[in-house]
């Protein structure tokens, strides 16, 4: 019952109107861009190309941002709101507190990610979106991405101050960087794993030079390796977060004399 209440508390945090509106806009942005694309081109509009290009931005940008916001807020919301003292002086083991709240965050990320993909699919393919392979692959990759990103970002939130900044460094610094370093470093990037799971059609001749370079430098990742890497990150991140949260002190600094 305690776990369920914490799970609901986490969902309640996500459902705060301002945050929810911002995150919905973020998730729906690719669908909106697709509609504008369709309206702008009118003739010769390619649903596959539009979906492929915009779903990459959805997964690699909006989805990562959503995961970072929701996963870090599991801990930082309690610290900044200074309500963490209530939770940490109750007999419920700390790992259960973090686990229940994280599950709430994962559900929130999944729902918003799902809305984003379905809205984008509908804007590109109309009613036939469920028959599209690209949409199906994205829907399959979404839970794995949600689990992996949220676990990793939760670990960051439990271990480091100002976690949102670190997650941004990871998402928009480390992940693109691994694409440009020859070898297998991109196996240590959740984004690369997700790209391996959900391949999309890209605009021929319009692909950006960095994307072309990364194809040359980083060999394609087998699907089994992508699934394995995501599973390892999800499990290790979550275990690390639970361990940190059980051992670390979270008394607000302002109170410290």
């Amino acid at each position: 019952m305690a776990d369920l209440l914490l799970f609901r508390l986490s969902l309640r945090d996500i459902a705060q109107p301002r945050r929810l509106v911002f995150c919905l806009m973020l998730g729906l942005l690719p669908a909106l861009l697709s509609l504008l694309w369709r309206l702008g081109i009118k003739r010769g509009f390619s649903p596959d190309l539009s979906y492929g290009t915009l779903s990459s931005s959805l997964l690699m940008f909006a989805f990562v941002l959503l995961s970072a916001i929701f996963a870090t807020s599991v801990v930082s919301q309690e610290i900044e709101g200074r309500t963490i003292g209530y939770l940490l002086t109750r007999p419920l083991p700390r790992y259960r507190i973090i686990l229940a709240k994280w599950l709430g965050a994962v559900l929130g990320i999944l729902i918003l990610g799902l809305i984003g993909i379905l809205a984008l699919g509908a804007s590109c393919f109309g009613a036939g979106l469920f028959g599209q392979g690209a949409v199906q692959r994205d829907l399959a990759a979404l839970p794995a991405g949600a689990l992996a990103y949220s676990s990793l970002f939760l670990l960051v939130a439990c271990a480091l101050p100002r976690p949102l900044i670190w997650t941004m460094f990871y998402a928009f610094g480390w992940e693109p960087l691994t694409q440009l370093i020859p070898g297998f470093l991109h196996y240590f990037s959740i984004g690369s794993c997700l790209r391996a799971l959900s391949t999309h059609q890209q605009a021929e001749g319009q692909a950006n030079p960095l994307a072309m370079l990364s194809k040359v430098l980083a060999p394609p990742m087998p699907i089994w390796a992508a699934w394995t890497a995501l599973a390892v990150v999800a499990l290790a991140g979550l275990a690390g977060a639970m361990l940190f949260f059980s051992l670390k002190e979270y008394a607000p600094r302002e109170d410290a004399e």
């Binding site: 209440l5 002086t89 007999p91 059980s246």
Partner: protein
């Protein structure tokens, strides 16, 4: 029930609590000290939110940090005025009662009981965001009491309460102490603490300055003799007789008040023993006897200001 043994806590280069050893027994004990003295660090160590850098802290025989066994028997009312604002008072108390592992069968009954106990029955259905400071304080107290803990830590529980509320909460704490619970109250409202308990722990600059019964501590402060003030119809005659007593150090009259006399002595108890004989023997009419510095305020001042 609470024990600190050579407990120190550092925050980087800053010391929060320095080599403190003390025990807090059953009953009400006041944790006193000026701002920045180390009260919050003390409370956070005992409530298991911080670990001591050196030494140890024990609550009911166990180290409290992240210890579920201790938290089952410990209630904590923090000083901070922060809540899950969109919850109602009842939801808040119920939520923390569930986390406190209260049995499902008695949960709602107990929540209602404790809400009534702190006088919040009428407002428990409202969102906390709309509460006054006093209501917030009461609901915070309710969440600390809901699982009927053996050890209760109350950080500035009288803050924000109106005089009636203060009296009620003071009375409530006194009752809890008399009921055998260990209640540690941090407060800076000294005269109200005095109505709650005579047992104090005084910290200053992170160090333990004094612990024990307030009057016993006062008796040990040699540097400041006890002042005893009289109102009598003939202060000069009374002064003449009192000066014969060996324990009287000085006398003071007040030009503006012809019935006032104040003496200073280092041995108040012995002086009071002889005073009765003097008054009866000479038939003095004494309207009142007061000891203006035999209280918590004075002891606090003498110990912290030197």
């Amino acid at each position: 029930m609470i024990e600190l043994q050579r407990a120190s806590r550092w925050y980087g280069q800053v010391i929060g609590l320095n080599d403190v050893s003390c025990t807090v027994p059953r009953g009400v004990t006041a944790l006193l000290g000026p701002n920045g003295a180390g009260k919050s660090t003390f409370m956070k160590l005992v409530s298991g939110q911080l670990r001591p850098t050196t030494g140890f802290v024990r609550v009911l025989g166990d180290e409290p940090f992240a210890n579920s066994k201790v938290f089952r028997k410990l209630g904590y009312c923090p000083e901070i005025d922060h809540f899950y604002e969109d919850m109602t008072g009842r939801e808040f108390v119920r939520f923390l009662a569930v986390l406190g592992e209260l049995p499902k069968e008695t949960l709602d009954k107990r929540v209602d009981e404790v809400i009534e106990y702190v006088g919040m029955t009428v407002n428990a259905g409202r969102k906390i965001a709309g509460y006054s400071k006093g209501m917030r304080q009461r609901i915070k107290l309710a969440q600390a009491l809901v699982h009927d803990p053996e050890v209760l830590l109350l950080d500035e529980p009288l803050n924000g309460l109106d005089p009636v509320g203060r009296r009620e909460v003071t009375e409530l704490m006194r009752r809890l102490g008399e009921g055998g619970k260990c209640v540690l109250v941090s407060s800076h409202i000294l005269h109200e603490v005095e109505q709650m308990t005579r047992s104090i722990v005084l910290v200053h600059h992170g160090r333990l300055l004094a612990q024990g019964d307030i009057y016993e501590i006062r008796g040990l402060i040699d540097k400041h003799p006890h002042r005893i003030a009289f109102r009598t119809s003939d202060p000069a005659a009374l002064a003449r007789e009192l000066l014969r007593l060996p324990r009287v150090l000085s006398l003071r009259f007040d030009d503006r008040d012809p019935e006032f006399l104040e003496i200073q002595t280092r041995e108040a108890e012995a002086f009071y023993g002889q005073l009765a004989d003097v008054v009866l023997e000479h038939g003095f009419v004494v309207e009142s006897i007061e000891s203006p510095d035999n209280n918590l305020e004075a002891v606090f001042r003498y110990l912290t200001e030197g």
